[in-house]
């Protein structure tokens, strides 16, 4: 069975909510749609207070090459356009909409019928993806249309769909692979068409046998329907974190390593999440903008009947979802949006959900409390765990002494912030906390150095 070659850790996968079917959340009274839901320049709001908007209507326009459209996820009246705190407490422009019963914008197919016919016009597919604001839903929310249009001197050879879901607790990707199986495969075929590649691999970790079975069956079924589905295959991957990391997945599937500061396209790979594939299907085949996504509500302290997977629309406040679920459990001391390894602690539960929101995870005191830091004994566990082959113990020392040149020479800029070092350190040294800040500074210095040369 395949997996990536360097490092990695094996946290308990804790997929408690795996058995819970996706439930559709009712629309709340008010939604707050953020204009910064993607990597790159935030969208510019094009509605004003008092405007009436329909579900699926564009309310934010991209402000640069790397940016994306934002659509209204509900029908209603715009109450305000202004600053509101996101989940980290940072002020971001939000559009506040008071909701009414749904009235869909024109041209959107809201039916459930599966459309398997792949459009042959490449530009048509790209335009639909771009106009419907599709962004990568694996975590980074990078605009998908940019990723699907590599520069002309680079050639894509293989599309990799990321169904690894290697983060513990999260089950939203697993549920869509079970419930929206065929749509995901159609999405893969659409992206395959755009990239002009003959091969697409759907990588799924071994701890999700039902998903592997369902996806394989769907691929086989669709391959009988049309030639467009040939070359798609499902690959079982050994369970290891961070398998879902872009560079790790390429290593696992293609046995190729992306060089330092390189992009996947340098080795002929394009990686997309299965949730993105579903969004691409909706965007192209149904002309449905990306206004909803699946989110897991889970945690050890949550009773079994409240472990849920919800279909939410962007802009629902996290507090509304938590409230609908029955409130924040008393034992929870920390709420995380995303997985326990890479997710962000929520400091503001009133923050609105974004396109890339994937979970509300409740952690108890025992699970999250930091143990006292002690001295590094050079055991090398962090270096062994690092999937990028870095030496976190060294980077930590260099970062604390502000040795920028040495940090760069030791490739701190290649850190993917997966947290394996921190997870494996027996001395409880906050390796990632220190390294992350140093990485940011080094990358800024590198950019500053290359900029004036242009």
């Amino acid at each position: 069975m395949k997996t990536f070659s360097i490092g990695g850790v094996h946290p308990d996968d804790k997929k408690i909510s795996a058995g819970s079917k996706i439930e559709v959340l009712p629309v709340p009274k008010t939604v707050y749609i953020s204009m910064a839901q993607h990597l790159g320049g935030p969208a510019k709001a094009i509605v004003a207070p008092g405007d009436r908007v329909k579900t699926g209507q564009v309310i934010g326009e991209p402000t640069g090459f790397i940016s994306a459209y934002v659509h209204s996820s509900v029908t209603g009246t715009v109450k305000s356009v202004g600053l509101r705190k996101d989940l980290a407490g940072i002020q971001v422009i939000h559009v506040e909409i008071e909701t009414e019963p749904d009235e869909w914008a024109e041209g959107i197919d809201t039916s459930d019928t599966l459309v398997t016919e792949i459009p042959q016009d490449r530009q048509f597919i790209i335009d639909r993806i771009k106009n419907n604001g599709v962004v990568g839903l694996g975590g980074a929310t990078f605009p998908t249309h940019v990723k699907l249009c590599p520069p002309p001197d680079k050639k894509a050879e293989c599309l990799i769909l990321n169904g690894a879901e290697c983060e513990p607790y999260l089950t939203s990707d697993y549920r869509i692979m079970l419930e929206k199986t065929r749509q995901i495969v159609v999405g893969a075929a659409l992206m395959k068409k755009v990239l002009g590649v003959s091969k697409a691999v759907i990588g799924i970790e071994e701890n999700k046998p039902e998903a592997i079975k369902a996806m394989s069956a769907a691929v086989a079924e669709l391959q009988k329907v049309s030639q467009d589905y040939s070359g798609i295959e499902v690959q079982t991957l050994k369970k290891k974190y961070p398998q879902g990391g872009e560079k790790q997945l390429i290593d696992a599937v293609m046995h190729r390593q992306v060089k330092s500061m390189g992009l996947p396209i340098d080795v002929g790979a394009v990686v997309q999440n299965v949730a993105t594939s579903l969004a691409v299907y909706d965007a192209v085949q149904k002309n449905m903008p990306l206004i909803s996504n699946t989110l897991t509500v889970t945690g050890d302290c949550l009773p079994a009947d409240r472990q849920k997977n919800y279909l939410f629309r962007i802009g629902y406040p996290l507090s509304y979802i938590a409230g609908y679920n029955g409130g924040v459990p008393a034992e929870a001391v920390k709420i995380i949006s995303g997985g326990p390894m890479m997710g962000k602690a929520v400091s503001n539960l009133d923050a609105a959900t974004l396109k890339g929101s994937s979970s509300i995870l409740y952690m108890t005191q025992e699970q999250t409390a930091r143990k006292p830091e002690s001295n590094c004994i050079r055991c090398g566990k962090c270096a062994e765990a690092c999937p990028m082959g870095l030496e976190p113990f060294l980077l930590n020392k260099l970062a604390r002494n502000g040795m920028m040149e040495d940090l760069e020479a030791n490739a701190v800029q290649d850190c993917i912030e997966c947290g394996c070092c921190l997870y494996s350190c027996p001395a409880n040294i906050p390796l990632l906390d220190v390294i992350r800040v140093a990485k940011g500074e080094v990358i800024r210095a590198m950019r500053a150095r290359t900029a004036p040369k242009k």
Binding site: K85, A88, I90, K344, A345, S347, P430, V437
Partner: protein, 328 residues
């Protein structure tokens, strides 16, 4: 046996002499001429090698002074005017006297003024905390309280006050090297004029949010109402981005702004008596405020606001608006 020893001694001695001659010649040939004044200047420097002057250390500073042959752009913040006079004497130059500076912490978000909205249990570093989120209080701009400035100070001049959760600058020890200014990710610490008899007036807030929002997250926030700007007879105060700033070059320490400020965000330190409003209110008992105790101070000035917390804020905001427009 003896001959071996004698020969060994003889050869080693000879070798030593030959190599010494070689070394002497090499040293003569490749001698680097260095201005002897660099050594002299270095001798009068404080030798802290703190980098506050912008150079790598005291010697680098000395070298730059000698090379430039003027002291216009070079200043040793640690040694101050005394050292600069000595340097000038060594080089036979003139030096303009600079007013002594001191690091000023521009945040009054004490635990009492600024309630916590979340609990931070991550790595205790302001830099790390600032990169993660807005901080554990409602104020995005305020002090994060992890003490990066304390760690940066080589002179032991900053310490955290456990009661307020804010750093306190020891005026005696502070050399205004600026290390803490660089260490603070929120840019709260500023080097300001030490002032006559160490008396200073400054706005102890950098919150750029609109008045109501700022006030909500911190009782002592500057709400950008502009009352101080109007009150200042010397035009030293400017309200920009919803926060007032006092230009210490223009400030004449009249303290009219201190009494005007509805939130007590403007602090006056080292004055023998508290600031008094011209007519209506009698002064509170005299008290010498040190920078360590700005907390009790604003209580007096903030008193009218504290009695009816909502109304005055609204009033002041209304007052601001026309002014803001004119600024735009």
């Amino acid at each position: 046996m003896t001959t071996t020893i004698i020969w060994t001694i003889a050869i080693i001695t000879l070798l030593g002499v030959v190599l010494a001659v070689v070394l002497y010649l090499v040293a003569k040939k490749f001698k680097v001429e260095e201005d002897p004044r660099i050594d002299e200047v270095e001798k009068v420097m404080p030798g802290a090698n703190c980098g506050g002057c912008g150079f790598a250390g005291c010697r680098a500073f000395a070298q730059s002074c000698v090379e430039a042959m003027n002291l216009d752009s070079n200043f040793c913040p640690v040694g101050g005017n005394d050292v600069m006079k000595k340097v000038a004497a060594v080089l036979g130059l003139e030096v303009k006297e600079k007013a002594p500076m001191v690091a000023v912490v521009r945040c009054n978000g004490t635990c009492a003024n600024r309630p916590k909205t979340s609990e931070y249990d991550g790595y205790q570093s302001c830099k790390v905390k600032a990169a993660l989120y807005s901080g554990d209080t409602g104020c995005f701009y305020g002090c994060l309280g992890c003490g990066d400035c304390v760690a940066a100070c080589q002179f032991g001049a900053i310490s955290m006050d456990p009661e307020t959760g804010l750093p306190v600058v020891d005026e005696e020890k502070c050399t205004a090297c600026g290390a803490c200014v660089k260490a603070c990710p929120k840019r709260i610490i500023e080097l300001r004029n030490k002032g006559p008899k160490n008396r200073r007036v400054f706005v102890s807030c950098v919150n750029m949010e609109k008045g109501a929002v700022a006030r909500k997250s911190c009782k002592a926030a500057c709400i950008g109402c502009g009352k101080c700007e109007k009150a200042c007879p010397f035009g030293a105060i400017k309200v920009e981005h919803n926060v007032a700033y006092i230009d210490f070059e223009k400030c004449r320490l009249c303290r009219k702004c201190v009494v005007e400020c509805p939130t007590g965000a403007i602090h006056d330190v080292n004055f023998p008596t508290p600031a008094v409003k011209p007519a209506p209110k009698p002064a509170a008992p005299a008290q010498v405020a040190t920078p360590a105790a700005p907390a009790p101070k604003p209580a007096e000035t903030a008193a009218p606001a504290a009695e009816k917390p909502v109304a005055p804020v609204k009033g002041t905001e209304k007052e601001v608006e026309p002014e803001k427009k004119s600024e735009e």
